[in-house]
Every structure is written in C-alpha cells, then in structure tokens.
Point group: D3
C-alpha cells in the first residue's frame, strides 16, 4: 500500500490500521520546502483523502532539528518569485497564479476528508505555521521554536497563516504581536494562547501521543468523523445560522448510515464496533 | 406566576425578583432528553423571552449526578430517527424536518431576549454542550465531566455544538480534538480553553454563584442588557463593519430610553435605579 | 515634525525613528473623552496613517490614574445625546448620524495603515475598551482595572466593544459575563482570556515594553508590516477562502517590492536592512 | 381533506390531484389584511408544506376587484402599531416583536417546500407585493394595478418588498422609482421589468393558466421540484460558490431517490411516471 | 441657500421646495472630470444629505452635448496615476489610496440619505456610468450614447461600474458584452436591459420629467422615503433574511414617527400632508 | 498550436489572432455529454486560460441540430450515478465527490481568465444551460430551443444552473417557471428575459457575430479585459462595498501596466495599439 505513496521528500507509512503517517523528509535542509515538495504533499494528501484504508493522518518532520524551517528562501529566490515580465501587470499575473497554486497545495490538507494531526518540534518557522494551521489538530514537543517568519523576508505571509491564525487562537492581540514582529516563541506560549492543544516532552513522545489520538479517531465511525471535520471547518467561517442549516442538509443523508446502529449496539454490548470502509 | 410555566420534566421558579430558574428534571435518567423535553424547553424559553417580569435566567440540571447525559439514545432509537420511507430522498426529507425542528428548539435559548446562564455539573455529554453553547454564560462545578459525545453513536453532532463551539472558545485544535475523539474532559480543561467562565467547588456553590450573577444582571437596565445580548450574538457571526452598522441602527431607537437618565442619575446619587418592565 | 500633530488633549511625539507616540492628555478628568477628543484623535491617526516617517504607533494615557475613564458622561448628558426632536424618527436620525461619526473616529485606529499598540493602566473603562480593541496590540500595567461599563449607564455599548470583543478573545462566555454585568476585572483576568498579550509591573514598564516592540516592528519592511496588518484584519471578518483570495491579489503587487531582496540579503549578511519610506 | 384547511378569510380547495388553491377571501374589503389573516395564512401554508397530498399551490384573491388592497390601514391604526409604552425603547421592542411576527408569516410562503404561484388581478397594493414576492411565480390579469404603497402611509415597507423586489427584477432604477414614489403601474410595465412572468386577459384566464402550470409542476418528481425551489432560493442570496457547494450536499442524498429511475424509464417509454408521496 | 453650495464646476439650485438640482458644469470639455470635480461633488452631496431643506435631488450635465465624457484622460495622465515611486509596492500603495479616495467620492451619492435621480444625455462614457449607477434612478434623453469605456484606455473600471452594474440590470451576458468590448450603445438598448427606467425625447424633456418625479418624492414623508432608499440599498447586497432583520430593527424606531398618522389622516381627508423637516 | 489542444470530442481552432474556438463535437449524439467530455473540456479551458496566445474564446456545438442535448442520460445511468454502496452515507460520499468533480469542470469556464462567448443553437437542454451560464456572454441562433431539463429526469439541476441562472437574468418568477416546469422555450423568450444578449438568424450567422465580438475583445488590452472579467464575476456574488475594495486592491497592481499608456496614445493617434502577451 505504501508504494502508492512514494513521492520525493516524503515518507508515507501506515503504522496502525486506518492510520497514515506522512513524514516531511529533507532533514539535511531542516525540511525546508522547495516547490516540488508542496506539489508532492498536495498529491499525497488528495490521494489519502479518498483512500478507503485511511481514517486519520499524522504529519511530522524528519530529524531532530526541525518540523520545517519554512520556505527554502535560497531556492525560492532563484525561482518563480524572482522572475517576471518587464511589465508590472504581467508580473502580477504570474505571481498571482503562483500564489494561488501554492495556497491550493496547502489548503489540500484542510480539504482532506480525513483529520490530520500535525506534530511540530524544533525549528518551526514560516511555512511550518501555514502547514500546521491547515491541519486539524496541532501537538508539539517542548523544544519547538515557532515563528511567523515572513515579515523578516519582506513579505506578508500569503500561504495561509494570516487567514487561519486569527480563527485558530483566541488572542487577536497576540496574533498581531507575533505576525508583525516575527519573533520566536516557544511551546508554552503556543499552548497558552491555544495554538497547540498538547505539549509533550520530546519529539518521540509527541509523535507517540499523536499516533494514539489518530488511532482513537480511526476507531470511530468514519461517517461521523469525516462529517465532524467538514462541519467544524464550514462553521468556523460562517454564521451559526448558516452552520446549522448546512449541518441539517449534510445529516439528512448521513443519519441514514448503518454506522449509527452499529455504534449504538457496540456501545450497549461494550464491544468495539467495526465500520465499513469509506 | 410559576403556574404559567408548568411543563413536564422542567421546574421553573423565580428565586429572586426578575430572575427565573429553569431546572431540567428527569434525574432518574441523568436528565437525558426525549423529544417532549426539547419541545417543552423551547416553549418555556419563548415565554420567558417576552415575560416582563423576567430579566435573566439560570438553567440547571436536577440531581447530583448530571446536568444532562444528552440525548436519550434508547428512546431516540425507537423514534423518528429509526423510521423512514423505503426511498432515501423521502427519508432524507423526514430527517431534515426533524433536525430543523430539534435545532430550532435549542436555538430558542440563543434567541431568548434575556440572558441565560447555564450551570453544568456531573455528567454533561452531547446535548449538554449543544444546550449550554446556546446559552450566554457557562459556569460549572468542579466535578463536571464534559464530552462532545456524538461520534460515539456514529453521527456528526447536528443540534449546534459543531456550529457554536468554534466561536465559543479560542483553540480550534482543541475543538477538533474533543469533537473528533469524543473523549471526556474535566472542568479545569474546560476553563483553560474558555468553554466556561467560572468553575466552582460543587453544584450548590456553582448554582449560588450563577444566581448572584443573574441577580446582578437583573439589576441593570433591561434595555441595555437585552441590547447587549443581541448585539454580541449578531457581531459574533458577522464582520466588524456589519456589527457596527447594526449597532447604530439598534441604538438609534434604544438611546431614546429613559433608562439612560435613570441609570446616570442613580449613579451620581449612589442609589439603586428602578427600571420599567420590558 | 511634532508640530504637524498639535491637537488639543493629545501629545504626539516621536521617541524613536519611525515610531510615533500618542498620549491622551486630560489627566485631571482621568482622560475622560469629550466629543472634541475623538474628533482630534481621528485626525491625528489619519495623518499618521499616510506619514512616511511613521511605521508604528503607541497609544497611552497621561497621568498615573487612568488610561481613560471612558466617555465624559457629564459632558455627554449636556450634548447631542440629550437633545432631540419631538418626533422619535427624527431624533433617531440625529442619533444615528452621531453614532456613525463617533464609530468612524474610533475605527480610524483600525484602518490606520501602521500598527498601533495600546498601553492600558489604571482606570480603563468603557471607551478604553472600544479604543484599545480598535488598536492592534494591547499591553497593560498590572494595576489596570477594566470594565465594559456601558450597561451601567443604561446603554448597549455602540462604539465598537460589542463588535470587536467577541473576535479579540477566545471565551465567549466570559465576553457575555463582563459585558452584561459591567463588573470590573483586573490585568490577570485580561491576560488569561487573551484580551491583552502582555502585563507589566507598572505603567512606565509597560510603556517601555511597548516602545521596544514598536521599535522592533518599525525595523521591518513597511511593505511587509502594513500588508500583515491589512490581511489579518481582513481575514478576521471573512472566511478562510475569502482571506486567501484577497491575500493573493494583495501580494501580486507587493511581492514585486525591492524590500524582499533587501531583507533577504541583510539576513544573509547579518546586517540591519534599510527600507525606503512608505 | 379540505376540512383540515378551514381558516377564516381563506378558502382552500384541491381542484386537481396534488394541487392546492388558496383563495384570500374578504372581498367586501378588497381582501385587505387584518392581523388574523396573516396568522391564518401562515398556518395554512405551513400545513400544506408538509402535506404529502400537495405538490404545488396557487394563491388568488376572491372577487373581481382586487387580489388585495394591502394592509387594512383602518384596522391597523387601532391595533398594535398605535399602542406603545411611554418609553421609546419599550415601544421599539413591542414594534420589533410585531414586525418579526408579521414578516415570519409572509416568509412562510417562501419557506413552504412546495412551489406557490400567485395570480394577481385588480387592486394589488402594498401587502400584495410583499405576499406575491414571497411566492415563487407571479402571473397576473391585464387589469392589475400594482403599487408599492407604503411610503404613502409614512413608512418604509417592512414585510418583505424592499428585501425581495431588488432580487426579483432586473432594473434597480425602476425598483427605486416605484418604491420611492408609490405610483400605480400596470401589468404591461410589470411584465416588462420582470415582476411577473405572464399576463393574461382577465382574472379567470390568469387563474386557469396558473392551474395548468401548477398541474404540470405537480406531475413531476416532487423530490426534483422541491429541491429545485430550495436550491434556487438558497442561491439567490449567496455566491455561486456557496450555491454549488450546498447543491452538492443536498443532492448527495436526493440523487439516491427512485424517482430518477422512474422518471428516466417513463421518459423512454413515453409514459407518465407515478411518484411516491412526499 | 444656494450660496452654501457654490463649488467650482457645479451649479446647485433649488427649483422646487425640497428639491435640489446639481448640474455638472464644464461643458467646454464635455463635462469631463478632473480630480477637483469629484472632490467637490462629494462635498456637495454630503452637505445635501444632511440638509433638512432637501428631500430629493436631480443630477444633470450642462450643455447639449454630454452628461459627461468621463475622466479627463489628458489631465489624469499628468496627475497621480502617472507618478509613482521606483518601487512597485510603494507605487501600489499610492495608487490604492488614490482609488479609495476616488471611489469614496462617487459612493457618496449612494450613501446620500436623499434619493438622487440622474438624467443622462448625449455623450455618457466611463465615469458617466460609475456616477449614475451610484444614483438611485436613471432617466435619459433619447440621444444618449453610453459606453463602459475603461478597457479602451487599458484599465478595468475601478470607480464602481463593475461592482454596481451587475446588480442594476438583469442581463449578465449583456453586462459582460458592453464592459469587455467598450462598445457604444443607445438609449433604447439601455432601456431594454433595465439600465434606465425612462427615456424621453430630448434633454429638456428628460430633465423636466426628472423634476416631476423628484417633486413627487419630495411630497412624501421624508422618514418613509429615506428609509426606503436605505433599506433597498442594504437589501441589494445581502440575503433576504438579513434584509428583513435589518428592516425590522430600522423600523422599530421609524414606525414611531408622527408622519404615519399625518400621512394616513391626509389620505382619508384627501389633503396634502405636511411633514416636519428631516 | 492546435496540436496542444487535441482532446477527444472537441475541436479547438484559432480562426483569428488571439481568438480560440472550441467546438463540442459529438454531433451524432446531439453533442450529449459523457464524463470524458467534461473532463476534457475542463483541461482545454484551463490550458487556454494561461495560454498567452489567447485573449478570447468562443464555444459552439458541432452540427446543425444541437448545441448540446445535455447529459447523455443513457450513459450516465450506467455510470457512477447508478452505482453505490449498500450504505446510504457511503453512497452519498461517492455522489458528493462525483458532483464536486463535475461542477469543477463546468466552473473552469467561469474561472478561465479569458472571456468565453457561448453560441447556442438548436437543441440546448440541461447541461447546455449549465455550460453556457458558466460562460461570459451568451448569443444564440433564432432556432434555439432551451430547457432546464433536469426535473424531467427526477433531479434538481446540480452542475450550476440553479446557482447561476438567478443572477444571470432579471426575472426570478420566470426562472422558477422554467426550472420547475422544464418547459422548452425559444430564443425570443431567452432574449426578452436577458438570458442571451443577441439572437441571430441561423447558427452560421450567430457564430460569425460571436467571432466578430471575440475579435473586438481580443484587440483590447488583455490586462484590462481579464481584469474586467474577474471583477465582474467577483462583484456579482458580493456586496458593492466588497466589490469596490477588491477592485482597488486588484488595480493597485494593474494600473502600473504599460498598456494604459499604449492604449491612450493609440487612441490619440487613431492607431491600433499592440499589447504584450498575457
């Protein structure tokens, strides 16, 4: 099964039934991203999204030093961003197409039908936040150093952080502080403001906890789990009234699933339910 | 006055002038909800909403063990949800109507013109969250055990939790964690993420504190209090710009109230103001 | 340069290159606001917004006792709010125009292209919250006493607090609690719920820290900083999808700045970059 | 069956299988509306909405002279609108509750799951537009005299015309013209701007054509027809992107209906399909 | 009274009680706009908006040849648009500020509390559409030649046409046709698609009809008229549900006006009502 | 160049510089669509969108008899729609994925950066409307027979018609009429309600006129043309205020184009401007 997921710079494994593990793997460069990486990640995630053998996913970075140091700035400065027509409008068009493609790759994690748990550790700068904010759950090791790094290279972050961070945590003053100053902050601060929902001793422990959580989620009805992800993301961005309406329309189909009976019966019988693939 | 509010499974009392107390009362079943209960609760709340003798409300669960264990699954499995036409679209229509009716009953608490303070204790699963998230203020006893329980019965929660929880707390990673895993969490965690704004020793203490707060709120101008509830709920779901505009239109009428003069004068004279009924 | 900013009740100074300091100065009245003050503040902020010599701003209150005690109620009761035609609709029109003008003055801080750091201390009631919630970052001294005071004078707050507070912090239950009860709360509580992102010993220390942060922000590319403020405010109020799209359109122009190369080069050379005025 | 629908001021009949006919019946007063009428109409329409024996509805006015002359102003001037507390804010609250209730009664036609065809004739003022704009299809007799009458009695129309008219026709200049001037216009003008989709010689002919159209619609799959109404109303008010998404979620259930096979088979066999009740 | 409205390039007169007439007056240049003109127009309109002696407004162009030929391109090419920093991002900032200011001047017509009737004739290119689409009612002379001219000078129209035209007429295919081709079209076509609501023989006749309509509108209750404009503009841009809610909140104040009684009484007595100033 | 666009069932040619012509080519089946066709069309359009040699596009159907008869129902009944798991929720998931993919293919025409002119003739049912409503301009031959056909096969149209039609024409009553009845209507009716912006004698003449219009559009600045398409589509779906803001942000980059100077200079010199590729 893992063969279907062989893409450069990523290791995809299946440590537990129904659980996939994506490892960003360019440790010699602190897992810094070049264009091929976000394209590959997007393909992997889109395939996992429809793979009936997968119900939850964890995302980690290879090596001890970094989840990811962010965009590989050196590579980027020699790529698309540095080119351009001699006409501002035409360069703008090229840049716009590039940003949309990049954004779409990262948003693929949010759109993935299965929940994704990001586990951050070590250096977690720039794209590390864009990426993990597009995941569903963020856990981290105690040694994680975070930074919304983009202003330090002269740009307003455009791959997702500025759109998702204000809705992920509950301290808008803090959001502005870290986004405007690019200062580095640690795991305790990340937990306090609600950026992560768990801090663990080291990377190994954090990954282990993530795997436990992924396994727990994978044991639930995939109809219920995937609906819950969809409805939470939908509601985050809309009024409660719109959220309720969409939920009712969603569930007019989904409440007809056999998983409900199976789950209830298993509950009464204290058994572990088995659900069909989805 | 309490006679107007005699509905099965609920005790409605008026412990302090202008304060109503709704008690969910089916303690032998851990206050689990059957259909008649949400229909009755909705009627009670709609009446209180327009009752000029009421300015604030507290909502509690009878008995020591539970605010509510949620939906009475056994009853539900024999009711509407289990029926259905042999045609998927026709069953979907029946389910949709059922969900909308159920949602409307719970939303009645949010639409109630008077603020409602929920006091949770003991078992507070599933519907306990839908219900209390539709209230304005959430307090709890230290022994409260919370769970977004729905995935455990094979469904994505559809009576409000998935739409309101992301806007009630400031840790979207944690919201996904508890909603996808259905794990039980306690009062300390609820307070840390901002789900409740106060934790008290036991149920009695929590109810007592809620009553104090309700009494304080009931002592203010009802024009100001009811406007504040309305404008906060409106603004939660819309842009700041839309919120400001609606606020101005609301207050072009409400600033003409005599309550302003009475409140200011009382403030200067260090007296307790008396406001007309609303 | 300071001469351009001489407006009654405000001291505007430039303590560090590219940093402006606005001090509310009516200490004998606890910096309570009369109409002229919000009109003047609005003019100051609009000028700073386009002043190429300014990249970040701090806002403080003169004296030891108060950031601001809020609206000067005594003055207000003799002003616009107390007048009115004998016809309710015509009075409503006058009130609506007044509220819109007042709101616009406070919103000018949010619309200012440069980030504004508010430093609260002592009495910080009513308008203190409307004002500081329209700023980007909120720091405070340990002695700060906050209150959403409006219900105590018989009104629902209409200059911004009810629209911005639910989006600034992550505890909607707490927002309702303080807005409905008008109770006074301290700096520890403000920090816990995420209303402020830093608490410092005394006013002097808090101002000093704010100045450091403003200086840090002013050292970054103004293209990046101003874009970051714009995109965060835009995204707070819209779906992630809308936020991403707007971000791409914004950056199709802004990524063409020379600041990017300058910032990257300085980073590699461990030098402090110099950016052109904006 | 008609007995279930006996409500004062309305005649409800079932002229053709699956087609209901609601006649407004207060011809001696040109079918002018008193409060009891909109309350009754709302009840009738809500019942028809869930009645499996009904698939389409026509709405007409009794007598030769008027569809309806609108609100019975004389009655209204003695009712709710004329009362009020001595405090402006309290009167505003009473008015707001009254308007919401009135709006909800008229919106019940738009929310009715079955399509409603309004047939206008003769005097069709004020509420005639609010009512018919809440219907799905508007036909009229050649003698119809329309007017957005409300400014002539000193109010901005508040029961739906100002919200629905701009989205019902494609000439915003004309909308403003008739709404600001309250001038009377005829059927030719109504057809030209798109307010009605058919003009017929006299009332009898118009009703007859409406009945034909209702019969045609009632012969289609009710799953398809009711979905079409829902999706068109949803999409009118939202972006195309939102419309498409909701449509997909709706149809993930509805495409599982047997009506599809029955409809296709009947088409191939040139037979009239029979669909189960809904 | 006219003295208060003496601004270069505009003649403001008061031909009838409560009716203002703004004439664009630069006929030697076909009323082409230079920056000073939109700034002046904005000031005039804002003052009229609050002038209690004005209840409706007509806007015309001086001379026989043109309502306006649009932007004075020659002047513009020597002004702001042609300047710019050597850095793209800084030029973008200057352009953005310029566009926002220009847009705000034109939007001032839409925000004006009193209805504005635009009368087009002769050459009506580019800004002629931006301007008249920001008015409430559009009438024209038979000789009017319209063009969405901007693509012919290499730009996408940015002062309002592209945002307002799709909502002003009901033929999106036609909107794209004229906006993408910049072709000239006449009054018959404008009337057919709903861009104007009246075509008259010559300019004099069109102005005379506009004056009649303005006089009729000015005879109605200003509370009702101004509310109608506000609610129609609000509803155009939002869902019916949002429109209804805002309408109810607006009218909770406005239905308390004495104009209602005066209007009804006058209607019964067949007299012309007199309304207080607003 | 045409070789790059060889996809089964479509002929792509380049009749004029900068103009592409896509012909749907399955005339023996009245150009009815099978899945491969919408996938291919989507690929073609996405490539044309970024092809610098293309500035405008026309879309036609091969043969004399039909633009397209819509979905090939026979093929569809043997494909995805007919399959499905034995569990309703799992079938719903498969259907949802299928609908989203299908919708995305059709929406690709709307998202194409270059304007697309659809030319309809003969049988134009079901998907013919979904497709052409996703184009920018609709022209037709006099013999065109239109139908929103979906209810006749038991479904609510889900590939775009129900979301786009209410915003494409200005007669919501007519939209409901044709969508609920599936009745066939002709070119005169289509023109009257604004569904098409031009009707021509026969297919050949209609195609010829479309080509002229495409050629005219292709002669304009591609920066201006592509911006105009983008801004019109954006504004159709949002408030005027949102439209104006996005427009300003778009043009802060695009007004820096050299096309402006070239276009203006060419206008003054009565020459045809030459614009760089985009």
């Amino acid at each position: 099964m893992a063969e279907k997921y062989e893409y450069e710079y990523f290791n995809v494994t299946f440590p537990v039934e129904y659980v996939a593990h994506i490892e960003i793997s360019r440790p010699e460069k602190l897992n810094a991203f070049i264009e091929k990486m976000w394209l590959n990640l997007s393909v992997i995630v889109k395939r996992l999204s429809h793979d009936p053998n997968v119900r939850s996913i964890i995302l980690t970075g290879a090596g001890d030093r970094a989840f990811t140091a962010g965009l590989d700035v050196q590579a980027a400065s020699q790529g698309t961003l540095s080119q351009g027509s001699s006409d501002t409008a035409r360069t703008a068009t090229a840049l716009r197409r590039h940003i949309f493609e990049f954004q779409d790759c990262i948003t693929a994690l949010e759109k993935c039908e299965k929940p994704i748990i990001a586990v951050l550790h070590g250096v977690s700068y720039g794209l590390a936040l864009d990426l993990s904010l597009s995941c569903d759950i963020r856990l981290c090791a105690a040694d994680t150093r975070f930074s919304v790094k983009e202003v330090d290279i002269g740009i307003a972050a455009d791959i997702g952080t500025l759109s998702r961070l204000p809705k992920a945590v509950g301290n808008f003053s803090w959001v502005k502080d870290v986004a405007l100053s690019a200062r580095i902050f640690g795991s305790a601060e990340a937990e306090k403001v609600g950026l992560v929902s768990g801090v663990y001793g080291g990377k190994a422990e954090a990954v282990s906890e993530a795997l436990k959580l992924a396994t727990l989620i994978a044991s639930k009805s995939p109809v219920a789990v995937q609906g819950t992800k969809e409805l939470l993301n939908y509601s985050r961005d809309r009024s409660v009234e719109e959220g309720l309406r969409y939920t009712a329309i969603w569930n007019q189909a989904m409440l007809q699933t056999k998983d409900m009976k199976d789950a209830m019966l298993s509950g009464l019988q204290k058994k572990t339910p088995k659900f069909s693939k989805l």
